[in-house]
């Protein structure tokens, strides 16, 4: 058969990597003391399916490796072995190792035969140590053996009629039994029918077997394992009623256990689904050669799209019919049709955008492991809390925010949280806390990394900046400005350059990356109490709702998400501040006014008197200001086009778009404008 298995390889790799991710998080949950059999089962399933897949697709080294892991996990799962820190640590290493194996295979590299050897060795060491239950078992066994030494078991074996048809032969079982000890059998042939009605493929006999052996009941049951469901089997120790009862009870208990487990199954499945969903957008291959990244999309989203396209086709054909032989009497129908078309197009667009949205968990999921490893290395005690991990944002943003976030978390762990002794000395709990949070705010996504560590040391930063020549000794800077200094290129305060952080390339790159995504980062820090790094990112990169405004003859677009309200001011609301700044009072707040025609040097045709135009109150970076414009025109969804592709970044603009008539309109960079306005305002004051 000409099935080319290679076409499934990619699927196997992706599933394996996703599985490993979820295994990793389960392991970490277990380490935190979440002793949940569900977690163990999930981990077992992951390893089991990787092993299966690897075997099928011919990755023998992965299969062999995972087999050993599976053996260990199976013992843990069945409760034979208690899970220890040692095992968890080893399993975490296993995850790395398997991941490396999978990634090597994925990029077409040859397997490194030594990879994972030491892990296998350690796994085998653990496996060779007798398991806890085995130990108990053997104790029990010893006493049992002492009691029943030389006595043995009485077995009643009644095969069901169809047992032979499944290919099981009693003779072989008896042979196996005879290997355990001396056996004597008696057979009951009362059921045997007359020869003419005898079906040669059916079994009519009942056996009673006595075995004289010190063997365990399990060994006997093992022999009958394959026919368990096809016979009535009773095993009694010879001459010991009590023991029999006990085994019956145990059997009943076992059944109970099975039932309980079964009952858990639906939940099991649901959980599995959850896991899948969580890891749906799991690690994409990033550095391996060739291949495109893929995205898993829920079928419900696809169905929705298909539905919508269907609607669109219907609307289109409706309009087509209308177009043939159109006269003015059908104008209303045409308008209805166009409205419909507009609605469908918008829905279609929204659903397609939703496909690109992925939960931020894609990035967050790597941190528990990282913090765990780092804190161990540094000897710190750190509790990582994650919230808002289901917050969705554009896939491109999620992919590119990973590195800056990693850097920030690393910083919090390395520089932020103090050593346990230091913490208790300053009256804090030994366990430091790093909190990752993501949430929506307006048209942005906010990601916060906060810690309750030492906070930024203003004095140290200042000195460092002076010695690095970034500021001069006489500069008087506010605390906020000093905090900002850490974003300066080539700034690092770590006294010792560690391999974790503090190589001097750092926060400036972080900020650059975030700004490139159209986002922003700010710091709030209090010495001794901790710091908060707050990143705000745009929801999506491609499309936004825009308010068209006009100034003179020019039109600009303000992202609706940044507009708080639009008002017409009365003269008594406005105050001129010394210099050129103007402020207006809005519900007790004094906000600077930005005259668009001044800001953009519009030459003519603009409205100069504040009362005649409109003040659009906008917010960016948590600060507000009023944009003074002539008119508010329509609102429209706009496709963002980069100015930088063929040009450069222009102050006050975040991009451009193309209107329906083909003309270009520019989109205002509200955060930038607000920043400039407030700075100017502050200078003026």
């Amino acid at each position: 058969m000409g099935i080319n298995l290679e076409q499934f390889h990619q699927v196997f790799f992706e599933e394996a990597l996703e599985g490993l991710d979820s295994m990793e998080s389960s392991m970490l949950a277990m380490e935190e003391g979440c002793d949940d059999s569900e977690e163990i089962n999930a981990v077992f399933r992951v390893i089991h399916s990787i092993k299966g897949g690897a075997g099928t697709f011919g990755f023998a080294h992965i299969a062999d490796f995972t087999h050993v892991v599976e053996t260990l996990l199976d013992q843990v799962r069945s409760g034979e072995r208690e899970i220890t820190k040692e095992i968890i640590a080893l399993l975490l290493k296993t995850v790395d190792c398997v991941r490396e194996m999978v990634e090597t295979s994925q990029s077409g590299g040859d397997a490194d035969p030594d990879l994972g050897k030491d892990i296998i060795e350690r796994l085998n060491q653990i496996l060779n140590k007798s398991t806890s239950s085995e130990a108990k078992e053997s104790l029990k066994q010893e006493s049992a053996e002492a009691e029943f030494a030389g006595i043995g078991w009485q077995i009643s074996f009644v095969p069901h009629k169809q047992m032979l048809q499944t290919g099981n032969d009693p003779v072989r079982m008896f042979q196996a039994l005879s290997e355990l000890g001396e056996i004597s059998t008696s057979v009951d042939i009362t059921e045997l029918p007359n020869l003419h009605s005898l079906q040669p493929e059916e079994s009519y006999l009942k056996w009673k077997i006595t075995i004289k052996s010190g063997c365990r009941e399990e060994s006997i049951r093992e022999i009958f394992e394959w026919v368990e469901d096809e016979c009535d089997l009773e095993i009694k120790p010879l001459n010991n009623e009590e023991q029999q009862e006990q085994s019956e009870i145990q059997e009943a208990e076992n059944k109970e256990l099975v039932r309980v487990e079964r009952r858990n199954d639906p939940e099991n499945d649901r959980r599995k689904d959850d896991d899948r969903r969580k890891t749906n957008y799991g690690r994409r291959k990033s550095d391996s050669a060739g291949g495109t990244s893929s995205i898993r999309v829920g079928t419900d989203k696809i169905d929705e799209l298909i539905n919508m396209v269907g609607e669109l086709v219907i609307t289109q054909s409706m309009l087509g019919v209308l177009g043939d032989g159109f006269d003015m009497s059908k104008l209303e129908d045409l308008q209805d049709g166009l409205t419909e078309l507009e609605r469908h197009t918008r829905q279609l667009q929204e659903s397609i955008m939703r496909i690109r949205m992925v939960p931020i968990n894609f990035v967050f999921s790597r941190f528990p492991r990282m913090v765990h490893d780092l804190s161990e290395k540094l000897g710190k005690k750190i509790d990582l809390r994650i919230s808002g991990e289901t917050t969705e944002l554009d896939k491109t943003v999620v992919e590119q925010i990973g590195d800056p976030l990693t850097h920030l978390v690393r910083n919090s762990v390395d520089h932020g949280i103090e050593m346990p002794e230091e913490r208790s000395a300053s009256g804090k709990p030994e366990m430091g806390e790093v909190h990752l949070n993501a949430y929506h705010k307006g048209g942005s996504i906010i990601i916060e990394i906060s810690d309750d560590g030492a906070g930024l040391n203003c004095e140290k930063i200042r000195n460092k900046a002076i010695s690095a020549g970034i500021i001069s000794e006489n500069d008087e800077l506010s605390e906020e400005r000093i905090h900002e200094l850490i974003f300066h290129p080539g700034f690092s305060t770590a006294d010792v350059v560690s391999d974790i952080s503090g190589r001097g390339v750092g926060m400036d790159v972080v900020r650059k990356n975030i700004v490139r995504l159209g986002g922003n980062i700010e710091i709030k820090s209090k010495q001794g109490h901790g710091s908060i790094f707050r990143i705000s990112l745009p929801l999506t990169l491609a499309i936004l709702d825009g308010q068209i405004i006009s100034v003179g003859k020019e039109k600009y677009i303000v992202p609706i998400a940044s507009i708080i309200e639009s008002i017409q001011v009365k003269p008594d609301m406005v105050n001129k501040v010394s210099g050129k700044g103007e402020v207006f009072e809005l519900r007790g707040e004094y906000l600077p006014i930005v005259r668009m025609h001044e800001f953009f040097e519009v030459e003519e045709g603009y409205i100069d008197e504040l009362e005649k135009g409109i003040l659009v109150v906008v917010e960016g970076d948590g600060r507000k200001c009023g944009l003074f414009v002539d008119l508010l025109l329509g609102q429209q969804q706009i496709v963002i086009k980069s100015l930088e592709t063929n040009f450069v970044r222009i102050q006050g603009l975040s991009g451009a778009t193309i209107f329906g008539d083909g003309s270009v309109a520019l989109i205002l960079d509200i955060p930038g404008m607000v920043r400039q306005a407030t700075e100017r305002h502050i200078e003026a004051v």
């Binding site: 020019e554 800001f599 953009f600 040097e601 519009v602 086009k641 980069s642 100015l643 592709t645 063929n646 040009f647 450069v648 222009i650 102050q651 006050g652 603009l653 451009a656 193309i658 083909g662 003309s663 270009v664 309109a665 520019l666």
Partner: protein
């Protein structure tokens, strides 16, 4: 390809030799300039251009070239020549400009395009220090085309957006 075959091919191609390039020449305030024709992407009639604030005056603005936003430089304004009404010969020549890291598409407004010149490398002369309305740093050479001189414009130098934004 064997040497013999190569010779044959050269013979067949006749007078089109490898060191001859084609240039598109255009008019600007009664002087002639040209650019490497391989850099010309298209020639558009003058259309509406959106002014971009906070840019130098000579940047007319940006236009929509099939969905791409393309900056347009008015060469008259760039070299502080007299402003004239745009008329029906005024065109925008869209050029590919190489910058440090990438290639950008930039348009220039010129009075009129005139013709395509075949120029052999040997015919290109160095630019004298003075004489043209365009500063010599933006010219790479000059060629004579019968009655008049045509100056070859260094568009990578002249039209690099990062560079001309410094003139703001």
């Amino acid at each position: 390809m064997t040497e013999v075959a190569e010779e044959q091919l050269n013979e067949e191609l006749g007078d089109v030799t490898i060191d001859e390039d084609q240039y598109l020449s255009f008019e600007l305030d009664e002087e002639y300039y040209c650019v490497d024709i391989l850099r010309v992407q298209e020639i558009l009639g003058y259309t509406d251009i959106t002014r971009v604030p906070n840019t130098p005056r000579f940047l007319s603005g940006v236009l929509n070239l099939r969905g791409a936003i393309v900056p347009v430089v008015d060469l008259r304004s760039r070299f502080s020549l007299d402003e004239v009404e745009y008329d029906k010969t005024t065109v925008i020549v869209v050029l590919a400009v190489k910058t440090m890291h990438s290639e950008k598409t930039v348009g220039i407004v010129v009075d009129a395009v005139s013709d395509v010149l075949n120029v052999s490398k040997n015919d290109i002369r160095t630019v004298p220090e003075t004489g043209a309305k365009v500063e010599t740093e933006f010219l790479t050479g000059l060629v004579s085309n019968g009655s008049h001189m045509v100056m070859i414009m260094d568009i990578d130098n002249l039209l690099n957006p990062e560079k001309f934004m410094e003139l703001l």
